[in-house]
């Protein structure tokens, strides 16, 4: 289609779509990333949107963004800085200009660059006149009026016409990167199946945008990003929240149990409940509870009754679930508590990312109340770690906290689809009719008690929050027994370490600097370390997924390097935790609390500084 234009091969490209939260930028970004993934690129995405559904139009606070990074090589982050920024209004330009690479391309919707909108965005004059923009390739497109013009004879109402303007910019960007339109056309056909006029209109606008970019030669050349060399297999795009939901369903299927999810909607965890609610075909039972407490309590009830039970939440919701989590520890019932971390205490920054619930997850309960804590690190491996959380919960008869965060929960990436047959088995210690059942009798290896499911003849027993006598499970206030039971509760969680993999190290075992991370910072840390390694720097990465208990080789890994720096999106909670466990090692910290992920650039700067320090 664009045979006359010179094509430049690029290794990787970052695009950021931005506009009012009602401008359809999330959809536009998702379409571009899906198309790129289908084309064979490696892709990572980062939706960045305000908490308000329709924040005041035209203001910086109401800007919704979607950044995506696609490449010919391995892509681990949504990218620090954009090659292309689409700004649907002055506020979007203002909010995002700092994220555009020098000499990058900026596409603006010229129709929205009015005095009124300058004022709303807090500009004193037309920013396009500002000479600072001279360093960029600025493309002025009258997106709204061109869309209107294109659809004027279709009979579509004005509202629908204006709504489809995001397709115009998508078409433009498709031309710039030599992408096919068919995936998005099929998407439009499916989405608006009931409204043929809307289908036709959207497709016309998409093509109009494509042709407009071609006609004006939006760029002197168009870029091509060749497919990445990725492992053979069947792929799909997946977000972290969907992968979490699917990992939980997979664990239930593997264990041969019904899945029950008692939960209460909370940003940014809600999509897990939504996805599970949609999976009635797989027998998933979802219970939208009256509050966070009932979310976990219904799940504890379901666990008592023999289902694989899970509850999903975000930080403040985890705080509300705390007391009931203690009951699950006391009664030693399997349960997965998913905490999709968000920014700040209280309501904080509900749509932004942070890793500041680590201490809450490890310690935030009354009494000595240990439970395993694990963390996923990429959108797609939420599947793997949700599955793992289920396996640990069911095999060790314990509640498990799975930490993800807003960044990986909303982010998407291509994922090589696993086969259920390849996933490890889950052996659930269910007591059988005829067993000489004692509620707190345990197996030797895991110290797990057996699960006697109500309905099983002859195994009637009582459990509850009061301290129980070892083995028999009757209520006990005997002082020595409380010591015994406390020790067992602690020891059996420590023994989970015997069943988890070692923490892998990326780089040389004798590297000068060891970067330590956990959870959703993986993409940025691994990219920064890889780039420095390519520059010949003596640096390695140990990234943790199993937080409590830690993998058995942790001490050995941490003690091999001259300098250890723990990087996390909090004030240093993992660093503090490691200090408590490994008092001879000096841990440096790199922390950020802006509701945003690290940038590779800032990480590299800090690591270089550390490499140079004597």
């Amino acid at each position: 289609m664009s045979q006359k234009t010179k094509i430049i091969e690029k290794e990787e490209v970052v695009i950021r779509f931005s506009g009012d939260s009602g401008d359809g930028m999330q959809l536009t970004g998702t379409q571009f990333s899906d198309t790129s993934a289908l084309f064979g690129n490696d892709v990572a995405t980062f939706p960045d949107y305000p908490a308000e559904i329709r924040a005041p139009q035209g203001t910086v606070g109401g800007v919704s963004g979607f950044q995506l990074h696609f490449g010919h090589k391995e892509v681990n982050t949504p990218g620090d800085f954009a090659d292309v920024l689409v700004a649907m209004n002055p506020a979007a330009l203002k909010a995002n200009l700092k994220w555009v690479k020098p000499s990058g391309t900026i596409i603006i919707n010229e129709d929205s660059f009015t005095d009124r909108n300058f004022e709303k965005a807090g500009y004193e004059s037309d920013p396009l006149d500002d000479e600072n923009l001279a360093d960029y390739n600025l493309i002025r497109a009258r997106v709204t009026s061109l869309t209107k013009e294109c659809l004027k004879d279709t009979g579509l109402d004005q509202k629908s016409i204006i709504r489809s303007k995001n397709m115009f910019t998508l078409g433009m960007v498709y031309w710039m990167f030599d992408r096919p339109l068919d995936h998005t056309e099929e998407f439009i056909e499916k989405k608006f199946k009931k409204y043929p006029l809307v289908v036709e209109g959207n497709k016309m606008v998409l093509r109009a945008g494509y042709n407009f970019a071609k006609t004006i030669e939006a760029l002197p050349y168009n870029f091509s990003v060749a497919p990445a060399k990725i492992k053979k297999g069947i792929y799909r795009n997946i977000t972290g929240n969907k992968a979490t939901a699917w990992g939980l369903i997979a664990a239930a299927e593997k264990a041969g149990l019904e899945l029950f999810c008692g939960s209460y909607p909370i940003t940014p965890a809600t999509e897990i409940l939504q996805e599970l609610a949609a999976r009635k075909d797989l027998g998933v039972k979802t219970f939208q509870a009256e509050d966070e407490i009932a979310g976990i309590c219904t799940s504890i009830g379901a666990s008592f009754a023999g289902n694989f039970a899970v509850t999903t939440t975000s930080g403040p919701g985890l705080a509300l679930k705390t007391e009931a989590a203690g009951l699950a520890v006391m009664t030693e019932l399997p349960l997965v508590i998913v905490n999709v971390q968000r920014g700040g205490p209280s309501t904080g920054l509900p749509t932004k990312t942070e890793q500041s619930d680590l201490m809450q997850a490890i310690h935030g309960r009354s009494g000595e109340c240990p439970m395993p804590v694990i963390a996923a690190s990429t959108p797609s491996n939420c599947f793997e770690y949700a599955f793992s959380a289920g396996k640990i919960a069911l095999e060790h008869m314990t509640p498990v906290i799975l930490l993800t965060d807003g960044f990986i929960a909303n982010g998407a990436e291509p994922w090589r689809i696993p086969k259920m047959a390849d996933l490890s088995s889950i052996e659930v210690p269910i007591a059988k009719e005829g067993d000489n059942y004692q509620p707190y009798a345990r197996d030797k290896d895991k110290l797990a008690r057996k699960w006697a499911v109500p309905g099983t003849k002859g195994l009637e027993h009582r459990i509850g929050g009061l301290e129980k006598m070892d083995v028999t499970g009757t209520v006990s206030y005997v002082p020595e027994n409380h010591q015994v039971m406390t020790d067992i509760r602690s020891e059996r969680i420590r023994r989970v370490a015997n069943f988890i993999p070692d923490v892998p190290i990326k780089g040389n075992e004798d590297a000068d600097v060891l970067v330590v991370g956990w959870g959703g910072t993986y993409g940025h840390l691994t990219t920064a370390v890889r780039e420095l390694q390519a520059e010949g720097k003596s640096i390695a990465l140990a990234h943790f997924h199993y937080i409590f208990p830690l993998p058995k080789n942790t001490g050995e890994v941490l003690s091999r390097h001259k300098k250890v720096i723990v990087c996390e999106l909090n004030e240093g909670q993992f660093a503090e935790y490691l200090r408590a466990g490994f008092q001879d090692i000096k841990f440096k910290q790199y922390n950020k609390l802006q509701g945003l992920p690290f940038t590779v650039l800032e990480l590299k700067e800090r690591f270089n500084q550390l490499l140079e320090e004597k």
Binding site: A250, D291, S303, P454, R462
Partner: protein, 346 residues
């Protein structure tokens, strides 16, 4: 009625003794809970349900020690949360027969939210609400049902709070089954537990219970030998609302929409003028009037006040899963993993 059920030739041969656990019952001597425990064990033995199908779930409080004294599956949970936990148990395993035990503090204060939402969803379980109008386990503080002005350890000058009428709260949450008994009336409590168990959906049985230590005599007017006949009205579906020592008092509906206590034989009133109890009336208006009657102005209504059929939550949940499964092409996790937009890298 109870006796005939108790003597029914059930294939599951159980006696009340089969439901007694080996744990020593630790309620205070004279506590009303003892009577309720006996009633429940009697009712369960008559339910024709195998022992392993029962799950007894409680919150925290004196009455919530209940599961430990029952030789069934039991769960002594946390304060206020029993209704939520029981909701999960029933949803996870609809075959179980759920008995949920709560006190007035547990169900109506800290657990008020779960109480009303369990009723709203109509999850099939029988909730025994022990109402002694006091916090017993924490040694005597006022509860959400304590009468206004009552002096307790946390209201040394009398409470200034309006009490809840549990029935009013339940009816506001669209309760389909509401019954009331007295701890000492083992026959009636047994009968009501059986009726609650038979009812599909959330059955509330309020038991006026006496705390001998911290609120002795809270229900004295209704329970004392001398006065009880004049201040109790045991409702039976299809029967006239007649009560009193001499069976000569009854209820009629006044022109202002209020219930009026009348005496048969006075002012030309005959028993034909007395209201007939219709527990199955879907309109909750009369149930509201009856359940809110308080002594001494009225007799307190006992028995099954409301019993209206409706689909239960878990019946609808199971049906919805069946319906979706019948039409979905996704039958297992591998199907789901490979559904929608996928592509192959060769």
């Amino acid at each position: 009625m109870t006796d005939t059920i108790l003597k029914s030739n059930s294939p599951v041969k159980l006696t009340p003794k089969d439901f007694k656990s080996d744990q020593e019952v630790r309620w205070c001597p004279g506590c009303g809970d003892h009577g309720v425990l006996n009633s429940v064990q009697k009712a369960m033995a008559a339910m024709n349900i195998p022992k392993e199908k029962f799950a007894v779930i409680s919150g925290i409080g004196c009455s919530s020690r209940f599961p430990y004294y029952m030789d069934t599956y039991g769960f002594h949970t946390i304060h206020g949360r029993a209704a939520a936990i029981a909701s999960g148990v029933k949803s996870a395993n609809p075959d179980l027969e759920i008995l949920q035990i709560s006190g007035d503090g547990d169900a109506l204060a800290i657990g008020g939210n779960h109480f009303i939402h369990a009723i709203r969803r109509n999850i099939d379980m029988t909730i025994l609400l022990f109402n002694n109008e006091i916090y017993g386990l924490t040694k005597g503080q006022y509860s959400p049902t304590s009468k206004q002005g009552m002096v307790t350890k946390t209201s040394p000058f009398g409470t200034i709070e309006q009490p809840f009428h549990p029935a009013e709260l339940a009816l506001g949450a669209q309760s389909k089954f509401y019954a009331r008994s007295i701890d000492t009336n083992i026959k009636l409590t047994t009968e009501l537990v059986l009726a609650g168990s038979k009812h599909k959906g959330t059955s509330i049985i309020e038991i006026l219970q006496n705390c001998v230590i911290y609120n002795d005599g809270a229900h004295a007017l209704i329970t004392d030998k001398e006065t009880k006949d004049d201040f109790q009205l045991t409702l039976r579906h299809g029967e006239r609302m007649i009560f009193g020592k001499n069976k000569n008092k009854g209820l009629v509906l006044g022109g202002n929409g209020k219930l009026i206590v009348v005496t048969i034989g006075e002012f030309g009133i005959t028993d034909q003028d007395i209201l007939i109890h219709d527990a199955h009336n879907p309109d909750p208006h009369m149930a509201w009037l009856l359940s809110n009657m308080t002594a001494p102005e009225y007799p307190v209504a006992l028995g099954v006040i409301r019993d209206v059929a409706a689909l239960s939550y878990e019946e609808k949940m199971v049906q919805q899963i069946k319906d979706v499964q019948a039409v979905s092409t996704i039958k297992c996790m591998d199907d789901l993993l490979n559904s929608g937009d996928t592509w192959e890298v060769k």
